[in-house]
């Protein structure tokens, strides 16, 4: 009998894509818990609802594409997309917002480009951008008010479900603009002091949001520690946000200060969980610095001079476009070479 012949290596380490994905989901849990604590049941509901949609869409499309759903569902990638959308969408957004965003993310942004590993754009952010452009009102007015600002406490689970599913009118004061939004619009004709006095900013930077961001930062640090995400991307994102803020927008009477940029909105979730999606990001070490810096910079530009209160989705998608080009210009120097090759053709010999 002939022996079994396979090519080397014969040993295999313990890394598994599904484990990496599972860790990403787990690292989101502290952030989700604080979101629920400060803003009610909305995000938790959205995460579960998006998960149902994502898994169903994934299974159906895999079936249509003639792939074995069980094998691909086990990689947890659809679940990660769903969780990120559930965390990012406004907590009180109607159910069909989540449905449209998630379906677009899985069916169009992921599978129509070839499925797992082949999508040029971050699926969650493609879905998010779609609903943000299509339904701007629903996407800006359904941000829940932090619990501590409400005399009678946050909406109960039943009321939250009623708002999301039956679109029963929200009682006054239970929703409002986000701190980023408030600061940007109020600072035009007020001083920093008076703007900071608004209740949404709380005692420190941004009521509720600051702790949610800290929780996502911690979750992200865990992923960094486990080497599940590269350090270059989040560091570069935060730098890209901080540099223009410190250089151009340091006047808090005119521009949103850096502290609010970092601790309100989607910053930490974006920097550690969204920008680090490996498939659609740059894949070289240097390229990830460029890619992340671009995301931070674009986020700052759109937040400051654009029409949208937050900009993470657009910044990520724009840099997704650039990622293949960045890769071409950021090859590392290979052993035995004097320098790295830059660009599609080698230039160093000419």
């Amino acid at each position: 009998m002939a022996l079994l012949t396979l090519s080397s290596p014969h040993a295999k380490g313990s890394n598994r894509t599904s484990d990496l994905m599972r860790w990403v989901i787990l690292a989101c849990v502290p952030g989700l818990a604080l979101q629920t604590y400060f803003f009610g049941w909305g995000n938790l509901h959205n995460v579960l609802w998006c998960a149902c949609i994502a898994l169903s869409c994934e299974a159906i499309v895999l079936k249509l594409r003639g792939r074995a759903p069980a094998f691909y569902l086990k990689d947890y990638s659809a679940l990660v997309t769903a969780v990120l959308l559930g965390l990012a969408l406004p907590p009180l957004a109607p159910w069909w917002i989540s449905l449209v965003a998630t379906t677009f993310a899985i069916v169009f942004a992921k599978h129509l480009y070839g499925g797992m590993g082949y999508n040029p754009f971050n699926p969650a952010m493609a879905g998010y951008a779609l609903v943000l452009i299509s339904f701007p009102v629903a996407m800006t007015t359904n941000w829940a008010t932090p619990s501590s600002m409400l005399a009678d406490g946050q909406l109960g689970l039943g009321d939250t479900l009623a708002v999301i599913w039956q679109q029963s009118p929200l009682p006054d004061g239970f929703s409002g603009a986000t701190p980023l939004d408030v600061y940007k619009h109020e600072i035009a004709y007020k001083t920093e002091e008076t703007v900071r006095a608004f209740a949404v900013f709380g005692e420190h930077f941004a009521l509720g949001w600051e702790w949610v961001n800290v929780a996502f930062l911690l979750g992200g640090l865990v992923l960094l520690g486990l080497k599940i995400i590269p350090w270059q991307t989040p560091v570069a994102v935060l730098t890209g946000l901080a540099v223009p803020s410190l250089l151009l927008g340091s006047d808090a009477d005119q521009y949103t200060p850096l502290s609010i940029h970092l601790l309100a909105g989607a910053t930490m979730l974006g920097a550690f969980f969204i920008a680090t999606d490996p498939v659609s990001s740059s894949t070289t070490p240097l390229g990830r610095l460029v890619y992340g810096f671009g995301i931070g910079l674009l986020t700052y530009i759109i937040r400051t001079w654009g029409g949208y209160p937050d900009a993470f989705a657009f910044a990520v998608l724009l840099m997704n476009f650039a990622a293949p080009l960045i890769d071409v210009y950021t090859q590392p120097r290979t052993y035995g070479f004097a320098g790295p090759k830059r660009g599609p053709k080698s230039r160093e010999n000419q």
Binding site: L3, H10, A11, K12, V279, T334, K345, S346
Partner: protein
């Protein structure tokens, strides 16, 4: 990682880091706990003629011959080859194709010996003090012993004991890292025979005269380190301990670790003044010089859960692997799997009857639990873990896409050929993609494509040169015809009007030449003919011109080869330039040969009675031998090139150049012979 490692002799020696690397489970204790055992004598031995890198040896025994232990049974064929010796006394029973241990699973020519159980040695030439021998004698002994690199590559050792021609060897590195999991052959050898190892190193250093002499060893072998440190006392050999990290035993990685130098892409360590030798090789060198023993046995690690008595054995080369494993409690697993080498870079054996050879450092028979079979691969998510692990600092994730989509140009631009196939990328890949497999496939496709391209390029150049020659001959004929006609017309005119000046004819001949290229060519041909008749062109001068043209062509070919590797967009331009130069060379050669021939004919004319001087015109026999010699050399070169293309890509470039040079020489010899034959015919 860059923390200096203390060393009693050289406290300042720092260990440098190489990029990437992994820490797979070591499994060294499975086999390094017991002393080296000696394998029993098998009933038959199978000695492949090729156990080394290079050309297979040529058998010098016949079926039925009785041979003694250590007797040479096959002789090295050419420079890059190694002798094969009988590992014990017995009778030659077959010289035929047998299964050999090779990733291809193919068979190759082997000599089978039926052992007689007497294990009787031939007479050996011992030598107490190697210093009494000349370096040349030492190299002869090493070559005579048939030693080839025992770390796995099997490069004939004697060649690596010549210092590179231009510069001397600065550093001799003994690779004792043994970074592959499971393998402990060098570990045990160092623990038990450190003195022999150190003496072997001293002999190598005697031949190479290096500036420094380092032993690189991973820190997971404390006993071996102890033994080495004891043994090197009083010598100038340094033991350098490096952190355990796969693949620190890769030649390039170890060089980086110990010297902070990098072997330039496409070059060999000797180019930067470094020679690397394996531990086992050094011991073999010692035994060859001290006792005159040829390489007939080696230490092999037998390990893996399918073997009950794991450990290291000193085994005779040629011992069938199945037979050997059976002596140590081997139980076939399901599916049955025997890996030659380690789990990272070893290859799975196709036929268990294949023998142990000079490069077999480990036989690993893993159970399905300890080395599970590959899982189905998932999609690449470009996570970049592979790039972090890559010791060559490549982008494996990009190379994978390029290999898959057969974008070979991009793969080469991303330095595919600098991949050392260590397997670190596949090991860390979370999607279980067999990355190295893709790279091997892409490399072989590119190599095949290059070979075909070269072949067709050569054919085209040859064809075009021939076309040009034919065209020129036609034009010269035409010119001759015209000249004859003109002469006739002139004669006619002269006859008819002897008083009339010859002016108009002359202007007719020279004026249009300025704007008619064809006419110009005719003129040129005429001029050439005339000048050759008058011997205005000195053959010596033409010879220099020819030499110059050949040199220029050589340079162009070099540049072309270089460009093929680094600068693909220049290739076309250079190919054209090469063609142009080829034509120039041909022209120069023809001029020279014509001049030579005419001077010869003139010489023959002037000294019609005396025979032509042999110095000026080489005899036909001489030319034939020249041609034959050149052809043989070309063939040898082509063989070496083929060999190198499969086994030693870094040598390919150099060899292609020499093949090209030799081809030109053969062509010159052919032409000279043809010319001589023509002369013969004329006479």
């Amino acid at each position: 990682m860059t923390a200096p490692v203390s060393n009693p002799n050289h406290p300042k020696r720092a260990v440098h880091a190489f990029h990437g690397g992994i820490h797979p489970p070591e499994h060294k204790v499975d086999s390094n706990q017991t002393p080296i055992a000696t394998s029993p004598l098998p009933p038959r031995l199978i000695m492949p003629l090729q156990q080394h890198l290079g050309k297979a040896a040529k058998p010098i025994v016949a079926v039925g011959d009785h041979v003694l232990k250590g007797q040479r049974i096959a002789e090295a064929d050419g420079a890059i080859s190694a002798h094969v010796h009988a590992p014990t006394s017995g009778t030659i029973t077959a010289i035929e194709d047998r299964a050999i241990p090779h990733p291809s699973g193919l068979s190759d020519r082997c000599i089978e010996i039926r052992t007689d159980g007497e294990d009787r040695w031939i007479e050996l030439e011992a030598n107490e003090h190697y210093e009494t021998l000349s370096v040349e004698e030492i190299r002869d002994k090493v070559r005579g012993a048939g030693i080839a690199g025992m770390g796995g590559a099997g490069f004939p050792t004697e060649i690596k004991m010549h210092p590179p021609q231009q510069d001397k060897v600065n550093t001799l590195i003994i690779n004792a890292a043994e970074c592959e999991p499971y393998i402990t052959a060098d570990d045990r050898l160092m623990r038990e025979r450190a003195d022999e190892l150190v003496k072997g190193i001293e002999i190598m250093a005697y031949a190479l005269q290096p500036g420094e002499c380092l032993i690189g060893i991973e820190d997971n072998k404390p006993e071996a380190i102890e033994a080495l440190k004891r043994a090197v006392g009083g010598t100038r050999i340094e033991v350098v301990v490096v952190p355990t990290k796969y693949p620190s035993g890769g030649e390039k990685q170890l060089i980086k670790l110990l010297t902070d130098k990098e072997v330039p892409s496409g070059r060999i360590p000797a180019d930067i003044g470094i020679v690397c030798q394996n531990v086992g090789t050094a011991v073999a060198v010692f035994r060859a010089v001290r006792f005159g023993e040829p390489l007939i046995s080696r230490i092999t690690t037998l390990t893996g859960d399918q073997i009950s008595r794991k450990g290291n054995v000193e085994v005779l080369l040629g011992t069938p692997i199945q037979w050997l494993l059976n002596q140590y409690g081997y139980q076939a697993g399901n599916p049955e799997r025997i890996i030659v080498g380690g789990p990272m870079m070893g290859y799975a054996l196709n036929d268990p009857d294949a023998p142990v050879v000079k490069t077999t450092n480990c036989l690993l028979a893993p159970s399905a639990e300890e080395l599970p079979l590959a899982e189905p691969a998932q999609a690449c998510i470009r996570c970049g873990l592979c790039a972090e692990a890559c010791p060559a600092e490549l982008l494996p994730q990009q190379l994978y896409w390029f290999a898959r989509s057969q974008e070979h140009e991009k793969a080469e631009h991303h330095n595919l050929f600098d991949c050392i196939e260590c397997g670190a990328c596949s090991y860390v890949c979370p999607s279980a993609i067999p990355l190295v497999h893709y790279y091997r496939h892409a490399k072989s496709e590119i190599k095949q494509h290059r070979q075909e391209q070269e072949k067709s390029d050569r054919a085209r150049i040859r064809f075009e040169a021939r076309q040009e020659r034919l065209e020129r001959e036609k034009q010269e004929k035409e010119a001759k015809r015209k000249a004859r006609a003109e002469a006739a017309a002139k004669a006619q005119a002269a006859k008819q009007a002897p008083a009339a000046p010859a002016k108009p004819v002359e202007t007719a001949a020279s004026a249009p030449a300025q704007n008619d290229p064809k006419q110009a060519a005719i003129e040129a041909a005429l001029a050439r003919k005339q000048s050759s008749n008058q011997e205005a062109e000195d053959p010596e001068a033409l010879k220099t011109a020819l030499d110059k043209a050949i040199a220029k062509l050589d340079k162009m070919l070099d540049a072309l080869e270089q460009a093929k590797q680094d600068n693909p967009d220049q290739v076309e331009k250079l190919t054209r330039a090469v063609e142009k130069n080829q034509v120039r060379v041909n022209q120069a050669r023809q001029n020279y040969e014509r001049a030579l021939a005419s001077s010869n004919t003139q010489a023959a004319n002037t000294t019609a009675k005396a025979p032509p001087e042999p110095k000026e015109l080489p005899s036909r026999e001489q030319l034939v031998t020249n041609l034959e010699k050149a052809r043989a050399k070309l063939e040898k070169m082509s063989d070496a090139l083929e060999q190198a293309q499969s086994e030693q890509p870094e040598q390919v470039e150099k060899l292609i150049r020499s093949v090209e040079k030799n081809r030109i020489r053969v062509e010159a010899a052919e032409r000279a012979l043809a010319e001589a034959d023509k002369q013969e015919d004329v006479r």
